[in-house]
């Protein structure tokens, strides 16, 4: 069953993962359909696809926010299929779209880092992690972002801008070097400037540490320019999977057409609009 679990170069293996939901109206909807995927250590994977393609559901199954109905999730050789999210923290971290969901708003940045550190250790003792240790860990991750956040550790995190919070969330997700980092449209709620800055910060952090990353995005250009591998999902399955040299030859326009052909022409409205505009 865990055929490749001995393979040390794989950080993530999904085999036959299926997730079904009962939609309003008692109709059974298959969000992710018998999905298998292997990701080598240190790879930066972009996932694109229309709404309802199963991207977020896939990430949720890897993070443990949803348990797979069928199939197995193996992270760095460990079968985590049935573990809840809080027990996967040492292996998987997830950054969500909404900044409010990534940090505890009424605690300071430092307190958030203290919690994240304790979570990575898997112990929340009845004492405080020494402030020196927390600050050192926070500064080490925040300084390279160049946003001056390392000097604002005492600030209540709810008082920061969305971009700042997402950058901190990515930094917090890097704590303890998890096997897999999941970015679920983590810049989608930001303005273009902040999105670019957070994207740059994200890439620097994960490249430096060589963290295997799955990023869901709607920004096809960014996905093509920055990722090592690109997946396109449609109706719960992977319809396009390209990497390496193949990637460099593809333009966003190619991607749209390939998607249209593979998925039987049912493009999302946004893609159709992008396709029809000459830009």
């Amino acid at each position: 069953m865990l055929r490749a679990s001995s393979d040390p170069t794989l950080d993530l293996q999904l085999s036959g993962c299926t997730k079904r939901f009962i939609a309003p109206g008692r109709e059974l909807v298959t969000a992710v359909d018998n999905l298998s995927l292997e990701v080598e250590a240190g790879t930066f994977v972009s996932i694109i696809g229309s709404n309802g393609a199963g991207k977020s559901t896939t990430l949720a199954m890897i993070a443990g926010n949803l348990l797979a109905d069928e199939g197995h999730v193996v992270v760095r050789g460990q079968d985590v299929t049935t573990l809840p999210s809080w027990r996967r923290i040492g292996l998987v971290s997830r950054v969500r779209q909404n900044p409010q969901d990534n940090m505890v708003s009424n605690l300071t940045i430092e307190e958030n880092f203290a919690l994240a550190l304790a979570g990575r250790r898997g112990r929340f003792p009845l004492r405080r992690t020494s402030p020196g240790k927390v600050r050192a860990a926070a500064q080490e991750l925040l300084e390279p972002l160049g946003m001056g956040l390392e000097d604002r550790l005492g600030a209540i995190s709810g008082s920061l801008s969305g971009g700042q919070r997402q950058a901190i969330a990515v930094a917090m997700a890097c704590l303890g070097s998890p096997a897999v980092m999941l970015l679920d449209e983590h810049v989608a709620a930001l303005d273009p400037n902040s999105a670019a800055r957070v994207n740059a910060a994200t890439e620097r952090l994960i490249r430096e540490r060589g963290i295997t990353t799955l990023m869901v995005t709607h920004d096809m250009k960014h996905a093509l320019d920055h990722a090592d591998r690109l997946l396109m999902m449609h109706q719960g399955t992977i319809v396009v999977d390209v990497c390496g040299d193949e990637l460099t030859g593809i333009t966003p326009r190619d991607l749209q057409q390939r998607f249209a052909a593979l998925s039987g022409g049912s493009l999302s409205d946004a893609s159709l609009l992008a396709e029809s505009s000459p830009a």
């Binding site: 993070a63 926010n65 809840p84 999210s85 809080w86 923290i89 040492g90 971290s93 997830r94 969500r96 409010q100 969901d101 990534n102 940090m103 505890v104 708003s105 009424n106 605690l107 307190e111 958030n112 203290a114 919690l115 994240a116 304790a118 979570g119 990575r120 898997g122 112990r123 929340f124 003792p125 009845l126 004492r127 405080r128 992690t129 209540i156």
Partner: protein, 316 residues
């Protein structure tokens, strides 16, 4: 006369400090609308009464009362976790059942602690009046609890509790087992409510099953008054304000009785205090400003925003 009223307020108010801290922990920190606290107050009172009558040391009887309260809280948590019942609904059920539990524990509707050794009996031995002894004991307990909570909420474990009360998904994303934190939070909160019940029973020298009726509103009144004294989000100012709040509330009650309020109206007064405090906190400034056209417009904007952003949550 004022000094006498202040003394009464401090004397009685301090006994309710554990209850208010428990309500704050459950509703303020954990964001769980736990009405079990009312039942735990009664369970704590009856447990403390029975053990004291059986000659147990006051510390033992109050300690066991706290355990009984924690157990009551855990029943609510179990209903919430295993049957996936909403906390409000689960706690209403448990608080109702707790009323009968009190009668079972006591084997009667009321008990007298006359002639027993209570947590306040030591005052007699060292030549203090009963009131002085009560104030010193109450102040000691309040100080101890504030210190313990202050320490606890700053530990890594305490922070994980705060995170759970803020956003369960965020907390789980940080590695917190949130269902366990809810259990611990409600157990501690109910233990505190039970301690309050035990102290009140020890102090008044008798236990009656009806002491728990409406006690949650007394706690709420103290909490709302206290929170109106500070706008800080830091733990220490809030805890100090809560202690002050319950004393001020008791002062209002003592004064009302002194100037001839019909004791039957006491519950009405308590509810009124809560409503007035909330009204002043949320509307105080806008009432004054409705004298001008801009002010009226502002208050209309605020009111519409409240209606537009209102949310409902089904709990069946």
């Amino acid at each position: 006369m004022i000094w006498n009223l202040i003394e009464i307020a401090v004397q009685v108010g301090l006994l309710y400090v554990p209850l208010v801290l428990g309500i704050y922990l459950a509703m303020g920190v954990m964001s769980l609308p736990d009405l079990t606290l009312q039942g735990s107050f009664g369970v704590g009172g009856s447990t403390a009464a029975v053990l004291t009558i059986n000659g147990q040391h006051p510390v033992v009887s109050l300690g066991v009362a706290m355990l009984a309260g924690a157990a009551t809280g855990l029943v609510t948590v179990l209903l919430h976790m295993k049957l996936r019942l909403n906390v409000l609904l689960a706690s209403i059920l448990v608080a109702t059942a707790a009323y009968s539990m009190c009668l079972v524990i006591m084997s009667s509707g009321n008990l007298s602690l006359f002639g027993t050794t209570t947590a306040f009996s030591w005052a007699d031995g060292v030549g203090l009046t009963y009131r002085e002894g009560t104030i010193l004991t109450g102040a000691g307990v309040a100080l101890l609890l504030v210190a313990v909570l202050l320490w606890f909420l700053r530990t890594d474990y305490g922070l994980s509790l705060v995170a759970t009360g803020q956003n369960i998904q965020t907390a789980r994303g940080l590695g917190v087992r949130t269902e366990l934190r809810q259990a611990v939070g409600l157990a501690v909160a109910n233990a505190l409510a039970a301690l309050s019940g035990g102290l009140v029973v020890h102090n008044q020298g008798f236990m009656d099953v009806t002491i728990q009726n409406g006690v949650i509103v007394i706690g709420l009144a103290g909490m709302m008054l206290g929170l109106s004294f500070t706008r800080s989000s830091r733990v220490l100012p809030i805890l100090v304000a809560l202690v002050a709040g319950v004393v001020v509330y008791r002062f209002a009650v003592a004064t009302s009785l002194q100037i001839g309020l019909n004791p039957n109206l006491l519950q009405l007064l308590t509810a009124a205090v809560v409503v007035v405090v909330i009204a002043v906190r949320s509307q105080g400034r806008s009432w004054l400003s409705t004298l001008t056209a801009t002010g009226r417009r502002q208050s209309r904007i605020a009111r519409t925003r409240y209606y537009e952003e209102d949310r409902v949550a089904s709990f069946i």
